[in-house]
């Protein structure tokens, strides 16, 4: 039982972590809580669905031939990449239309409210385009495989898809970490996150760094959305439902800290999955809220407070 709870928590948590990274990055660079980030997750998931149809048609139509033990074929991987790119473009357009203009004169509160409005508009538009019924990437049913036998810690079962999600999330997080620590652009991003005014004085092109942030945040959000759709189902509220866990994870980790967002995401995921046997599945979403309240009371700066005061 306990191993299963941990495994489920890590799988949910990896999706939350990917979303929270983007949220924490936009917060630390642009200094506002972007409520539209959840909609990048939803749009990423649905854009991938559209591209999936396109790639399946391209491959001659019919059913998608699964890759090895997974429920999906190469078409879904291609759709994942295409959906992520399209979501990045969506984020850049939104920045150009809204946030860039407002941040020139507006305060953080104006940007936050604007992002709230953008979230509503994006969600309604999504429902208008795709409808409100649940959708699936694949109808293939997956059998969970035994990873740990039942007599060890209650056993552990997971589907190959779930393992794929976990592994790819890990690869993306490590990749992002290396990008931030090892590359010129990553260094510039960290500098702007720490102190935008100082970064400007040292000659860093902040506008370009902001563009990077939107692109990376949106890509990770789209992947998170596709993951959520792959191990569950696609619903238009998928982004909205993830918003609270995302904020809980980002704040828990310490706003601005990418490793913090990852750890925070995993903790929130674990709390959610532990809530199921403890207080019942219907209160699962309350777990994230509980975590959020607890951090705000105990350690409001989060686990890894990064920003210089």
């Amino acid at each position: 039982m306990i191993l299963q709870i941990i495994a489920d928590g890590l799988i949910v948590g990896s999706t939350i972590a990917l979303g929270a990274i983007g949220l924490t990055m936009t917060y630390s660079l642009l200094r506002f809580a972007n409520f539209a980030h959840g909609e990048f997750i939803a749009w990423g998931a649905y854009l991938a669905l559209t591209f999936l149809g396109f790639f399946i048609a391209l491959g001659g139509g019919g059913a998608m031939a699964p890759l090895g033990p997974f429920s999906f074929g190469w078409q879904l991987l291609a759709a994942l990449v295409a959906g992520a790119i399209a979501t990045a473009i969506l984020a850049l357009v939104l920045d150009w239309l809204l946030f860039d203009r407002l941040s020139a004169q507006g305060s953080a509160i104006v940007l936050t409210i604007a992002s709230f409005g953008a979230a509503l508009a994006l969600r309604n538009f999504l429902q208008f385009v795709y409808g409100t019924l649940p959708a699936y990437y694949t109808r293939e049913l997956q059998i969970a495989i035994h990873i740990v036998p039942r007599d060890v810690g209650g056993g552990l079962r997971a589907t190959p898809d779930q393992l794929f999600v976990l592994a790819l999330a890990l690869v993306l997080v490590v990749g992002l970490h290396l990008f931030l620590q090892r590359t010129t652009a990553g260094r510039a991003m960290r500098a702007v996150a720490h102190n935008p005014a100082l970064a400007r004085v040292t000659g860093i092109d902040v506008a370009s760094v902001v563009r990077w942030t939107w692109i990376l945040g949106a890509i990770l959000a789209a992947v998170a959305g596709t993951f959520a759709g792959l191990v569950g189902q696609l619903r238009p509220q998928i982004g909205f439902d993830l918003l609270l866990p995302l904020f809980a994870a980002a704040i828990l980790g310490g706003i601005g800290s990418v490793p913090g967002a990852v750890i925070g995401g995993l903790i929130v995921g674990l709390a959610e999955s532990a809530a199921v046997p403890l207080i019942g599945a219907e209160y699962r979403a309350a777990a994230a809220f509980g975590v959020l309240i607890a951090i705000l009371l105990v350690r409001p700066q989060g686990l890894f407070a990064e920003r210089a005061k």
Binding site: T184, A191, L198, G203, S208, R211
Partner: protein, 272 residues
């Protein structure tokens, strides 16, 4: 409080004092009703180490912030080597050849000394989005070159042993040196130093003075705000004096020292 001592003369290189590096004309900046900078005009010639002094709150840092592009002036013009820079974005001003340090040193605390200096290297293609995808070899070459330059300056200011240390562990004086290296790595034509001597121990200060003089001999111009009169008198020529937002004197050390308006301003009276 007011003591001007003339301990040692750093030889000036009058030879290449030709043309204006920085031209400030009728510069004004208000904060609400407070005229922090109030119609200031002066020039810094090419190759000069100019000084800017004045009592607390005179408007020196505000003037720096206007020149560096942090504040948009309310009036007046600023010209760097013939090009207008007033109201331009800081990154553009930086690219035009102007680097600065801060009165209170501001490193990126979590970044290493090397990384702190690296962010000051201009024109790194890796900072631009598309270059990373379409010109990866150029990005790699730029990064390698930037590291080499940054290391050279870190060694020059004597922080070589601390290259990998996070900037938060540096002492006040070491932070000043770090800022100097970060400013210099851009190969600027003009450097604005805001109180490079503040909080620096005498031995380290001698070193900073040495370094400034040496960098200047390689052709870089300086404008230095400083309360340490000893350092100003030794290093700076000419010296501009501000009080209550206005320029009240401009000239060499001797003339400034003898100027009754300057003495009056320093002794706490209103500007005559």
């Amino acid at each position: 409080m007011l003591y001007f001592r003339y301990t040692r003369n750093v030889p000036h290189i009058a030879a290449h004092l030709s043309g204006s590096m920085l031209q400030i004309r009728d510069l004004a900046k208000r904060f609400g009703g407070n005229r922090a900078v109030d119609g200031v005009s002066f020039d810094v010639h090419k190759g000069a180490i100019a000084g800017l002094i004045g009592p607390n709150g005179a408007g020196k840092t505000t003037l720096f912030n206007c020149v560096a592009g942090l504040y948009r002036p309310d009036a007046g013009t600023i010209t760097l080597d013939g090009n207008r820079i007033d109201g331009k974005r800081t990154s553009l001003v930086h690219a035009a050849g102007l680097a600065r340090t801060f009165q209170i040193p501001r490193p990126f605390p979590a970044m290493s000394v090397l990384e702190n200096v690296l962010v000051g290297v201009p024109g790194q293609s890796g900072e631009r989005f598309w270059a990373n995808w379409f010109a990866p070899t150029r990005v790699a070459a730029d990064e390698a070159k930037a590291r080499e330059t940054a290391r050279a300056w870190i060694d020059f200011v004597g922080l070589g042993a601390l290259e990998q240390a996070p900037a938060r562990v540096l002492s006040g004086g070491q932070r000043k040196l770090l800022e100097l290296a970060r400013a210099m790595v851009a190969d600027p034509r003009l450097v604005l130093l805001d109180e490079p001597a503040a909080g620096v121990n005498p031995a380290l200060l001698e070193k900073i003075i040495d370094r400034i003089a040496e960098i200047n001999r390689r052709g870089t111009s300086f404008l230095i705000v400083e309360h340490n009169m000893d350092m100003v008198m030794r290093l700076c020529h000419p010296i501009a004096v501000m009080a209550q937002g206005k320029l009240i004197a401009f000239g060499d050390a001797d003339s400034v020292r003898r100027n009754p308006t300057v003495v009056e301003a320093y002794l706490g009276g209103a500007v005559a």
